[in-house]
Amino acid sequence: MALEVRNLVVGYTREVPILRGVELTARDGLVTVVIGPNGAGKSTLLRAIYGYLRPSEGDILHDGRSIRGLSPHRMLEEGIGLLLQGRSIFPAMTVEENLELGGWIIRRDRARLRRAFEEVYARFPVLRERRHDPAGALSGGQQRMLELARITMTGPRTLLLDEPSVGLMPRLVDEVYDEISKLKGEKFTILMVDQNVKKAIEIADFVYVLNLGENSHQGPVEEFRHRLEDIVREWL
C-alpha cells in the first residue's frame, strides 16, 4: 500500500503554486513524516493527495494506481483515510453516531459494521463508555481518539495524518502518539505531517523535509535524529 507523489505542482490559484514539484514516497507499512517550517506546504500536500486540491502538474499513485483528480469522498474506498487538521468531529451527534458515520461506506454490510464497532470499542474503551454522549462534550484528547477511531472503521491501510498533535496539551499529545505507535505496530502505511518535530521524528521511519514548497532533505530517520537542530535552524 505504498503512496507515491511525483513532481506535484499545486496551488490555490494557478499563478501561485504552493508546491513546486514535490516528490515523495510513503513506503508500505512504514511511518513517513513530513516536516518543515510554516508555509512550507505540508498541509497542502496532504490536501492535494486527498483530492481537495487539483494539481496542475504531477501525479499521485496509490499502490501503483493513479488517484490524481479523485474526489475526496472516493478516497476511503481506495483504502486511504485522512485525519483532518483541527477539530473534525460532528459535535452535535453522539460518539456512536460519529462512529456510525465512520462506517458510512460499509453501512449496508451489517456484519462488517458490527465487527468494526467491536474493534474500535476494544481499542478505545473510553469511547464505548461515552458512546451516547454528544461528541462535542468530549475532552480534546478524547475527540482526537474519536477522530482516529472514525477513520479506521472501514479498515483503510493507508492513513494521512494532518497535524495530529495541534491544539493538545503535552500529556494528550503523548496519548495520541501512543495510538499512532499502535497503528504503526499494525503495519499501517502512514504519511504524517506535524509541527511537533521532536515527537514526529521519534515515531518516524522515513523523513522528508519540505521548504518553500520543495523537497529539501529526505532519508531514513536515523540520518535525522542528530541533525534536527541544524535543520530547524535553517528554517529560521
Binding site: 475526496p72 476511503l76 485522512l82 485525519l83 468531529i89 460532528f90 459535535p91 458510512w104
Partner: protein
C-alpha cells in the same frame, strides 16, 4: 378595541388554534429555509416561489383533475423536490465552484434573480387570477366550545405529521445522518466517504419540497397566484431569524410562536398593522438576541 375580549377563554383558544394553523405554514417554510441554510450555507430567496409552485400544483391536482388532497401534497412534494435538485445542480453548484469569499452574498443575489424569474414567468404563464380552493374538507366539529373546521384541523395535523416524519428521517436514517454530518462539518463528512455534492443537491431539494408542501397544504388560505409566495417568504425569514439560522427545532418553535402572535395581532389590531408587527419583532430580536430566541448562547450570529 375591546380589550376585555383578551380574557375570554373562548376567543383565546380560537385564536391559539388559528395561530397554530398559521404557524404550521410558518414552521414548514421556516424548516425548509433553515435546512437549506444549515446544509448548504445559502439563503434561498426563491423559497416563496417554491411555495407558489406548490399552490399551483395543488390547484391543478385537486380542482382541475379532481384528485384527492393527499395526492396534491404528494405531487407538490415530488415536483418541488425534483425542481429543487435541478436548481442546485444547475445554478447553485456552478456558483459555488466559481465564487470564493463572496459566496454568501453571491448566493443571495443568485436566488433573488431566480425568485424574480419564477414569479414573473408564473405571471406570464398563469396570469394574475387567483385560483383557490375554498374548502378541501367540508364540515366542522365542536372542540372545547369552539368551532373547528375539519379543513383547519387537517392542515394542522398534516403539518405536524410532516414535521414528525422529517424529524425521524433526519435523526434515524443513514441519509439523514449524512445530511447532519455535512451540515456540521462538510470536510470531515467527505473524509468518511460522504459525497457532499449529492447531499447539497438532496438538501436543497428537501427544502424546496417543504416549501411546496406548505403551499399545497395551505391552498384554502393562500390561493394560487404568481406573487402568493411573498408574504410566506417574508414570514419564513422572520421565523428563521427568531428561531436561529440553521436551527431546525428553533424554526419549528418560532414558526408556531409567530403564528400565534400574529393571530392575536390580526384580531386586536387591524390587518394592515399586523404586517408591521413582524418586522418590528425581528428588529427587537436582533437587538436583544441576534442568534435567535431558541439557539444556545454562545453561537455567533
Amino acid at each position: 378595541m375591546d380589550w376585555t375580549m383578551l380574557a375570554d377563554p373562548l376567543i383565546l383558544s380560537e385564536l391559539v388554534f388559528q395561530g397554530l394553523v398559521r404557524g404550521s405554514m410558518y414552521a414548514l417554510m421556516g424548516i425548509g429555509l433553515s435546512l437549506i441554510f444549515g446544509i448548504l450555507g445559502i439563503v434561498n430567496f426563491a423559497h416563496g416561489e417554491q411555495f407558489m409552485i406548490g399552490t399551483y400544483v395543488m390547484y391543478f391536482v385537486a380542482a382541475v383533475l379532481g384528485l384527492p388532497f393527499a395526492v396534491g401534497i404528494l405531487f407538490a412534494a415530488v415536483a418541488l423536490f425534483l425542481a429543487g435538485m435541478a436548481i442546485e445542480r444547475g445554478l447553485i453548484e456552478p456558483l459555488r465552484r466559481r465564487a470564493g469569499r463572496d459566496w454568501l452574498v453571491d448566493s443571495f443575489v443568485l436566488t433573488i434573480g431566480l425568485m424574480v424569474i419564477l414569479q414573473n414567468l408564473a405571471q406570464i404563464v398563469f396570469g394574475t387570477r387567483r385560483r383557490g380552493i375554498t374548502e378541501l374538507v367540508p364540515g366542522s366539529l365542536e372542540l372545547a366550545g369552539i368551532t373547528v373546521t375539519y379543513e383547519r384541523l387537517v392542515i394542522f395535523l398534516t403539518a405536524v405529521l410532516i414535521v414528525a416524519l422529517l424529524f425521524l428521517f433526519i435523526k434515524y436514517t443513514a441519509l439523514g445522518k449524512a445530511i447532519r454530518a455535512t451540515a456540521q462539518h462538510a470536510e470531515a463528512a467527505q473524509t468518511l466517504g460522504i459525497d457532499i455534492g449529492r447531499i447539497y443537491t438532496i438538501g436543497f431539494g428537501l427544502g424546496a419540497a417543504l416549501a411546496g408542501v406548505a403551499g399545497a397544504l395551505l391552498i384554502s388560505i393562500f390561493p394560487a397566484f404568481p406573487t402568493v409566495g411573498y408574504q410566506p417568504v417574508l414570514k419564513s425569514f422572520a421565523v428563521v431569524i427568531i428561531g436561529g439560522l440553521g436551527n431546525i427545532p428553533g424554526a419549528i418553535a418560532a414558526g408556531y410562536l409567530l403564528g400565534v402572535i400574529e393571530a392575536y395581532a390580526i384580531f386586536f389590531l387591524s390587518a394592515g398593522w399586523q404586517a408591521v408587527l413582524t418586522p418590528l419583532l425581528i428588529v427587537l430580536v436582533l437587538i436583544i438576541r441576534p442568534q435567535g430566541l431558541f439557539t444556545a448562547q454562545g453561537e455567533r450570529p
